[in-house]
Amino acid sequence: MATFPFELVSPERLVFSGAVSEVIVPGTEGEFGILAGHAPFVSTLKPGILTIKGEGAAKKLFVRGGFAEANPQGLSVLAETAIPLEEIKADRLAQMIKDAQEDVEDARDEATRQRRLTFLEALKSAATAIEADARHAH
């Protein structure tokens, strides 16, 4: 299968860099898979699970906030948070959800509230997916 260069970057470091065959990215308007030779494309991210398929087992990471950029040179995903699923702690997720919940309550206008609500929903569904994944692994 054709591979393409992929980079996952967080502000603090380069999380992943290498040739992969497919990456599934949680985009704001739905998840999408990127294969080699994708058309130039930019999308923002929703909190969720990013799956990297290459040689060996698929790698899954929790990503939050940022964007994905596909161009002829490859795909780069910039995420404010990128944590491998096996390293993520349940209490940390719970804290994130709690913070997001408070943000929703603090929102001053309807548009902000709506945006934060969507964010919270995405976070919750990501948390469920992560739990399911953990059960699956054991």
């Binding site: 470091r13 380069l14 930019v42 923002t44 964007f67």
Partner: protein
């Protein structure tokens, strides 16, 4: 002339100081390496962010739905100066050169009749600016000393700035920090944050940008990314500052150690001279006493 005991004490005290400065220098060297690594690790993110934003901003630079963070309010009445300094001193001219640059900018803006607001990050900058600009300082953020900066710190600062901007408290924001060039050279720099500026995109890259698909559309992506970019720019500046601080401290402490060495040498010389002079004096006394008999 100081007595022998006094001289001995003085030498001992300088030696103790030298030990401290030497230790600080070595600690700074170790921290500098870490700070440089952190700064380098953060570079890819900032570079990508800039190029993507530059692309999008280039393709939709006008229109009513372009966020104000990019275009600015169209006025330049109120300026926000974000002054990034260290938490600790003993690092040569590091803090003072940043605050000097900020102070000069603030004074020249005030002379032009603009309103100036100051946002201090770091204890040292606040201490230095407090007396002269007590009224202008609107916000102070202190970073936890002794720990490397994390993206969360930058996020907190960026959030404060964006909410101030949303409330219409200023028109133009500029950040002041020290760009790290080498251990001996740190350049205090001012960088405009709002409205956002991007380095010119190379023509070839700009051509490729036109064919990008955006999801959601470009304006929405911009609205999402510009606040993030602000945090990234601040984070980058904080990291540069961290490296500069350690570099400045390293060379300052190196100087201090060398000065202490010189002082010890000089004092030891005086000490030995005095000691010999005393011995000679005592001998003369004994000999002349014996001769008198």
């Amino acid at each position: 002339m100081a007595s022998l005991k006094e001289l001995r004490n003085r030498i001992a005290s300088v030696k103790a100081t030298q030990k401290i400065t030497k230790a600080m220098q070595m600690v700074a060297a170790a921290k500098l390496r870490r700070a440089q690594l952190a700064a380098e690790a953060a570079r890819p993110y900032a570079v990508r962010m800039e190029s993507v934003l530059g692309n999008i901003a280039g393709s939709i630079s006008s229109g009513p739905d372009v966020p104000l963070l990019l275009t600015g309010t169209g006025k330049d009445e109120t300026h926000l100066l974000v002054v990034l300094t260290a938490e600790r001193g003993l690092c040569g001219a590091f803090n003072s050169s940043i605050t000097r640059l900020a102070r000069e900018r603030a004074l020249s803006l005030m002379n032009q009749g603009k309103t100036v607001k100051i946002f201090c990050v770091g204890r040292k900058g606040h201490e230095a600016l407090r007396r002269q600009f007590g009224k202008q300082i609107v916000e102070v953020v202190e970073l936890r000393a002794n720990k490397g900066v994390s993206f969360a710190d930058a996020q907190v600062i960026a959030d404060k700035i964006t909410s101030m901007f949303a409330a219409g408290e200023f028109d133009i924001a500029t950040q002041f920090f020290s760009r790290f060039q080498s251990v001996i050279a740190q350049v205090p720099t001012g960088q405009q944050l709002i409205p956002a500026t991007f380095p010119e995109v190379a023509p070839a890259a700009a051509g490729a940008a036109a064919t990008y698909d955006y999801e959601p559309d470009g304006a929405e992506i911009l609205a999402d990314l510009l606040p993030r970019n602000l945090a990234v720019q601040i984070f980058k500046a904080l990291l540069e500052n961290g490296a500069s601080e350690q570099g400045a401290r390293m060379s300052a402490m190196d100087n201090a150690t060398r000065n202490a060495g010189d002082m010890i040498k000089k004092q030891t010389l005086t000490y030995n001279r005095t000691r010999q002079a005393m011995i000679t004096k005592e001998l003369i006394e004994i000999i002349s006493g014996a001769e008198a008999l």
